[in-house]
Symmetry: none
């Protein structure tokens, strides 16, 4: 039993490390041997854990998506003001170390989802999760049309993340942060304002 638990722990660690590899190299270019190098876990053990190379990649995507969501939830726990909470979600973007990994993995998932129906379902479900999370804050802040607004907000976040992660020299993380705040204020409307 202890070995089984140890195994589960090992698997999760490997998943984490594999995520870094996938983010760095791209999913298609991630070989078993790359993950082996990064983890010290032998190739056949990876296969024992995950099955096919594709299975491993998919496991990485799922794991990363979960972690991402969890991290944001943790941040939100400390905040109450809807505006602040929204900004916290949004600046998830400019945030901590490892956030590049997150965004890159998101793009990798998106690409995989384009070709694999199973992954597509997962990714669309995640998408919906984020929309709902944001829409709840939009509604809580008393703004209009929560779902439509949430879509715009999420689009803005994603769309800004791309150049940031690519390292656009014209768009520092700080600048992106400010832009995002400005954009948010533009997108959020109260009917009373009209």
């Amino acid at each position: 039993m202890s070995s089984r638990r140890r195994s589960a722990g090992r698997r999760a660690e490997v998943l984490e490390a594999a995520g870094e590899v996938v983010a760095a190299r791209g999913a298609d270019a991630t070989r078993f041997s790359d993950v082996t190098e990064a983890t010290g876990v032998g190739v056949s053990t990876l296969q024992y854990y995950f099955g096919t190379r594709e299975d491993m990649l998919i496991a990485v995507f799922r794991h990363a998506a979960q972690r991402d969501f969890e991290r944001v939830r943790e941040r939100l726990a400390a905040l109450t003001d809807p505006g602040e909470r929204l900004l916290a979600i949004a600046t998830h973007l400019t945030g901590a170390v490892g956030s590049d990994t997150t965004w890159r993995l998101w793009v990798e998932s998106w690409r995989w989802a384009s070709r694999d129906p199973g992954v597509r379902a997962d990714v669309l479900a995640d998408y919906r999760g984020w929309h709902e999370l944001i829409a709840a804050e939009v509604a809580a802040g008393g703004f209009d049309e929560p779902m439509a607004t949430a879509r715009l907000v999420l689009a803005l976040i994603d769309g800004l993340a791309l150049p940031v992660v690519l390292g656009d020299p014209d768009l520092s993380r700080a600048a992106a942060h400010e832009l995002l705040a400005a954009g948010l204020s533009g997108l959020l409307r109260r009917s009373s304002q009209r």
Copy 2:
């Protein structure tokens, strides 16, 4: 000379078809033989045209980026009102057949740019091109902070394109179009309004 011209024409055709292949399969998964199948041009001939497989992919990216820009310019030629012109650029998204190809290739370029400095330079330059194009319209429309606004607008476009191309059932092309229009009106500000 006529053969050279013929060749150049052939190369361009191949480039176009290869773009479809790359969009459909992803750059990493695009083999010479896939392009051969799609074009009838033998593998060795592809190598003769482009060199390395990577060279071919990069040529595809460049070609696609140019075509994309050209197409928008063609559309803009008929319009004069800055608002309409902005919307035309933006709805590039929901537009013509083959626009999925465009967006997929853009993501593929982005990914390649993450790892290849040369491609990164190209992609960032394209990015700048789009910003400037949009900023010019923003300014022409009398709106504030053209460059910052342009970044937000472009981010919104990109961010909305992702779920659309992925085929999110909650976001039809028509719905995306409306959302985009609404989002634009939120992001554009006139100092006189304050």
Copy 3:
């Protein structure tokens, strides 16, 4: 002790089932996991029973050879006329269900015997056993040169079995049966006849 007996029973059952697998797939292509699938007995347990994969195959060959011999003896128990007994042995060929399995396993054994001295010894001993069995009937029937004739008879049986098992559409089991009877009568000679 009861567990030992139970084990021995299990082992024999497994051996029987494994024989079917080997006949169906060929010895080289028979993996532990194939036998696992056919029996429900885990791979490690198979190894515990038999040792190496090769050991298992050899055990299968021995078991099949014994069973084969036993079955013919059972049939013979009911017959007394040498001619009938010979025919009974010979038509072992066209006989009961599972006889394909028998012949296929015989070919597999032969092949293995070509490369493994231990198996070769077994197979040659079996061969001798059949010759003696047949020779005894030849002698009992008052025919000449029992051993030489026995070799010819056995050769005829084996040689006819091959196309039958392969499913030659020109050679139904019934036709093979008749041919065999005709062949036997040609091969059996009495010195008084000359």
Copy 4:
């Protein structure tokens, strides 16, 4: 063109050598690398020549079957008497160097034919070829029921070949030769004799 012809020659040589390897190791156990070792031709070149490993094996089977037939025809060219001709065909068995290879390959083909419909068709066609060849001699010798007799003769040949190739110490090649002659005379009947 010269290179193409050289290629074709090379391919045939390789096929010949591969036949030896398959006879020695068995088809299932024949790896590309074994053929590489035997021929000096690189693994990928083998694949270029033949395709899949299975394709190579099948090519080996076909080639061996043809060669076998051709060799017998050559021998027959010098003989006119039907009895001699029959014996020549039969003692194909005890004959020249390399005849072990022939018989082993025949068994390998048979096994493969059991599982592959394409190979089965080939093997059954070969079978028919031999029957017809023998039946023609039977008829030419004025013996009865050529086809039935041919089947028996061929069965006898095959059935005797098995222990000979296995190296049964009780059955030298010379002994097999005599047995075969005796067996033939038993199987051949003239209606006038009855």
